[in-house]
């Protein structure tokens, strides 16, 4: 049994978000992190590894510096890492991205008792589309928003969160699960893990490595293979700052209540 975890390196949007004058995101000036939901997927995989001794393979698509993130996940305890990286893959929307990742996962190979895991969504795009689209391309059943995962033989029982409660879903392996933060608390890298991370196998899948997969085609990858196009991107006008009230005493509160009453807000 093995678990393949798909992860993404993202700009840390909890820090300062910098926007270029032309309205695009200034990625260069932002720190990068492993997408938070993906770390929950990694932790879920590592927990199953602790229980069953299975193998954990982590895969990402991105530029070469994403290797650093993969090393960190190896240091957490993953066994192998795959970096999917090629100029031909650039400019992909979620459809094209999932097409490429599905091809990479095909090349790693999904067998009868395997699981593919993803985070629910990445904090930069916030689409939550790539996981289900990979599942569709690999013809795997999917369970998204997993908040608890129990494995018994080849049956996985997942607690799938809804806005107003949850569903319990049973699914057979192989399957794809997308994970949310309620699932677990990701572990830290261990010191020995950091040492070992550099001797663990790391492969790079470039265009050559994947081009024979039926999913990889000029019309299904990169900018040309993306069904969606950006018509325009823009920054919203900043809402002007309102009125700062002087002081923090009783009169100030009364003044505010007075304004609200006068404007018929209360």
């Amino acid at each position: 049994m093995k678990i393949i975890v798909s992860v993404k390196q993202v700009p840390d949007t909890s820090g300062k978000v910098a926007v270029n004058p032309d309205g695009t995101l200034d990625r260069a000036s932002m720190q990068t992190i492993t997408n938070p939901d993906d770390l929950n997927a990694v932790e879920a995989a590592l927990k199953l590894k602790d229980e069953t001794g299975c193998k954990v393979i982590v895969v990402t698509m991105g530029p070469p510096p994403a290797e650093g993130m993969l090393r960190e996940i190896l240091a957490m305890g993953a066994d192998e890492a795959v970096l999917v990286s090629a100029r031909e893959f650039g400019g992909s929307d979620t459809y094209a991205t999932s097409q490429i990742l599905a091809a990479a996962i095909n090349r790693i190979g999904v067998e009868k008792d395997d699981i593919v895991m993803c985070g629910r969504q990445a904090i930069d795009g916030d689409t939550a589309q790539v996981g289900p689209q990979i599942a569709e391309k690999l013809h795997l059943p999917q369970v998204t928003y997993a908040a608890d995962i129990q494995k018994s033989g080849d049956t996985i029982t997942v607690k799938r969160m809804l806005e107003d409660g949850y569903m319990t879903i049973k699914v057979q392996t192989p399957c794809l699960l997308t994970c949310i933060k309620e699932l677990n608390n990701p572990r830290y890298m261990s010191v020995s893990g950091v040492f070992e991370a550099y001797s663990k196998p790391m492969s790079v899948f470039d265009y050559e490595a994947l081009k024979d997969d039926p999913l990889i085609d000029a019309t299904t990858i990169g900018l040309k293979g993306s069904p969606t196009n950006i018509l325009t991107s823009f920054t919203p006008p900043q809402k002007g700052a309102g009125m700062m009230l002087e002081g923090d005493g009783k009169e100030t509160c009364e003044k505010l209540a007075g304004i609200l009453a006068k404007k018929h807000i209360i």
Partner: protein
């Protein structure tokens, strides 16, 4: 499978809305989407259809007509009783390939966000996630940009075409899907020029609901297409559905929201109590920033922000919330924002209509009292 790059766009027409039901009840999002879909169908000059899946749900269909649906396509089957990705994606994709809608809207609920990408991948088409604004008509879209963007008038006027695979593509009939990225710091308008249907998931709580019209409800047509579905199409099994026992926090429907942030950390229970008192005085509910939810001070259904709920109440009171972009993304369209924060440089003050720089533990009870007095004096 649709053919690549030579989809006959003209073969597709009508706007469809996926009408989600849970336990035989329509979701509030359905009415918002039907209302928005009505606007788009009118701009395109086509019909608006609701798509309703379930077991014995035909009785729900007419209500959707009251909000603007010309037709409701009803797919009834025992296996469609509860949502499963397998059964719903199969039936929806089969019906779409048969009847060819031009645009397909889905509410960005936990279920919609599971279903949308699965269908888009199978239909080989584009899907824009969590849209907050939709247009077809160019002049209306341009007016929206003039009001909601910092783009120059010249740039906006020139937006009649886009370069698609090196060729100029006229975008006048494309669905223009606008969504926030990076916590609302950047907005992007996405089009799907080469494939149909154009799919969008739409953030709950953002689109305005039309008034219900009984005459329209009565006139709404019900269509029951033939479809195939069997046990062998199902790879997942729903064992049980558990509704949260606690009272639901209706953030989206609330007119007044009092939210707390990390600023309550020195006395969490006391801080929440003060917020509850203020909310009760205003007739609203308590919300929270991600920090309060991550720390376990409030349950996740209280969360306002990019990964929580988007709200636009009449009054939003932010107590001890610094105003990170992820939070602002979920509440910046509130009609009136009141911020109380110790730090006068907190970014929340950049968007607040009224700001008080002070300790929330001191200010909040006085504010509650002052509002009570002001109401009594009326």
């Amino acid at each position: 499978m649709a053919t690549f790059n030579n989809t006959d766009l003209a073969a597709f027409k009508d706007v469809w809305v996926f009408c989600e039901q849970r336990q035989g009840k329509l979701m509030p999002t359905d009415f918002e989407l039907i209302s928005e879909g009505r606007k788009l169908a009118d701009e395109l000059g086509v019909e608006l259809c609701g798509l309703l899946l379930g077991d014995n749900v035909e009785g729900l269909a007419k209500e959707l007509g009251g909000y603007g649906a010309d037709k409701v396509i009803v797919c009834d089957h025992p296996l469609l009783k509860d949502y499963t990705t397998d059964a719903y994606a199969k039936v929806i994709c089969d019906v779409i390939e048969e009847l060819k809608p031009e645009a397909f809207l889905i509410g960005a609920t936990n279920i919609g966000r599971d279903l949308g990408p699965r269908c888009a991948a199978r239909l080989h088409t584009g899907l824009c996630a969590d849209c907050t604004h939709l247009d077809v008509d160019m002049p209306i879209y341009k007016d929206f940009l003039k009001e909601s963007s910092t783009l120059s008038a010249e740039k906006i006027e020139g937006l009649n075409s886009a370069m698609v695979l090196g060729e100029k593509h006229d975008v006048s009939r494309d669905l223009k899907m606008t969504r926030p990225a990076f916590g609302g710091h950047l907005m992007a308008t996405i089009i799907c020029p080469r494939f149909r249907p154009t799919m969008a998931t739409v953030r709950p709580g953002v689109m305005k609901k039309n008034a219900f019209d009984q005459a329209k409800a009565d006139a709404c047509q019900i269509v029951k297409p033939a479809f195939e579905l069997s046990e062998s199409d199902m790879q997942t099994e729903v064992v049980e559905i558990v509704k949260a026992a606690k009272k639901l926090v209706d953030l989206i429907g609330a007119d007044f929201i009092v939210s707390v942030g990390r600023g309550i950390s020195k006395d969490v229970e006391g801080g929440i109590k003060l917020a509850e008192e203020l909310a009760a005085e205003l007739g609203g509910v308590v919300g929270g920033s991600r920090a309060t939810i991550d720390s376990g001070w409030l349950s996740a259904d209280h969360q306002v922000g990019q990964t929580g709920k988007t709200v636009h109440p009449k009054v939003y009171v932010a107590l001890g919330i610094s105003g990170a972009i992820q939070h602002k993304a979920g509440m910046q369209d509130s009609e009136c924002i009141i911020a109380v924060n110790k730090n006068e440089t907190a970014p929340i003050f950049e968007i607040a209509d009224y700001g008080i720089c002070g300790d929330l533990f001191k200010v909040t009870p006085m504010l509650t009292e002052a509002i009570r007095a002001a109401k009594a004096a009326k």
